[in-house]
Amino acid sequence: VNHAGLLGQAPVDRDKERRMATDQGRFERVVMPHLDAVYRMARRLSGNEAEAEDLVQETFLRAHKAFEGFELREYGAKPWLLKILHNVFYTRMGKKTRQPILIEDVSFDDFAAELDQPPASELGSSGINWDDFDEELKAAVLGLSEDYREVILLWALEELSYKEIAEVCGCAIGTVMSRLYRARQQLGQRLAEYARQRGLESERFGE
């Protein structure tokens, strides 16, 4: 049994060198594939195509500048890019970028306190044919306020975890849960309204 190479000195050295030499290739491989995802988010945050393109370009330029210090293991490339986009977007909006705060308040009790009042309306438990509501769902999501729209899209479209969303938005996990909860409530209410307008039985939406 050979334990001589346990610490693996050589691989540390080689790996590091290789990484530096191929930073450019790495950026192409690791970051560029997420261009569509960043564009989709930018498009839906800003609400217009030209602005979305500017946001994406600035996001990628900033990412390129910061790439050398970027560690994939610490942060997936997509959440990292979306975090940059978030900051670029809110800076441009003239809103102060949210200060990053300690992500410690995962407590359900904090979040649950606001659930004491049962919601007036929400998506119920019976079957819904989602294909019938594609356009309405889109309109309902776009009708949400920016904060809510952002978490809903990060959650559903980009499939980020609560923790990743918190990192992207620079807020606490409890805040993410609370925004997601309210956003889903609002979506439920709007879809129920659409259903009523179409003359469908409102019971289908649990009202």
Partner: protein, 316 residues
Amino acid sequence: MNCREAAKFLYAFADGELETRDNLHVLEHINMCPECCGKVTIQQQLKGAIAVAFRDEVAPVSLHDRIRSALAAAEDASVGPSRIISLWRPLAAAAVIVLAMVGLWSFQDRTRGPAPIPLANVQFTDASQNARLLATNVYTMHRKCTLAGKDHQDKKLPKDGLAAARVLCKELNYPMLRCGKLDANPDTEFVSASFCGVADCEGALHKGGHLIYTFKSGPMRGRAISMISVTHLTELRNLNKIHMGERDYCIMEPTTASEQDPATVVAFDCPGASHLVCLEADPKATMRFVQDMQPVSAQQAEIGTHPKLLLALTNH
């Protein structure tokens, strides 16, 4: 737990974000309550429907070109200063390596077990001869099975990753490894499950269960990830470990992998079994998935009668 108490957990449960204990409580309630079960299903459908509504949007080709030009221009603009800096790079790299070595030595010296190392600081793979041999054995088995494609599927096992893991862990009587992210990820696809084993460094064979997924899109398109779970491999005790989160991981590169076609094997022990994950990617990409993996015990398999609910149970 009644409906009112369950209500505050339902969304997080549907999203697979609950801790195991809360998950079990909600699961108990949901198994008895069709209404809450329906609410969970609707929330999962809502998520899928939003993704479908927006996912077709892609960046225009002109934007791709525009960004590449902007990046090239930025690169040119920084050529001057970066040349100067580059003289110092080897020195900086050497300093980092020395620091890493000091860190590793002191981590070995501890008698009470290594302190957690932040993921960002982990820079090495296990190069001991045994590690390489084990990694190569795992990779060889992985390649043999992935090349068989769908033929690798055992007829007795379900053609679904989650269901197969449940049957495997019951048949073998030890936990199988599951990664909810693989099932939830639109880029990955379950390929096959079978009873396969690996050879240890002495050549002894260990029977186990083998689950294989492939990436059908995204940057890792065409590559495969597989999980082999076997009874405890004493081998792992002798390998260099990195402590992260609650586990010790052995991260190894097989000798047969090349820079163009990298492969990484990550092994770790959990109560009841040793788990070996092989991904055709570098250690960093591999660890991104491995950290989301949770063993499914036979007991959990009994509880999860609803595939989505078991997914929520294991994907926390």
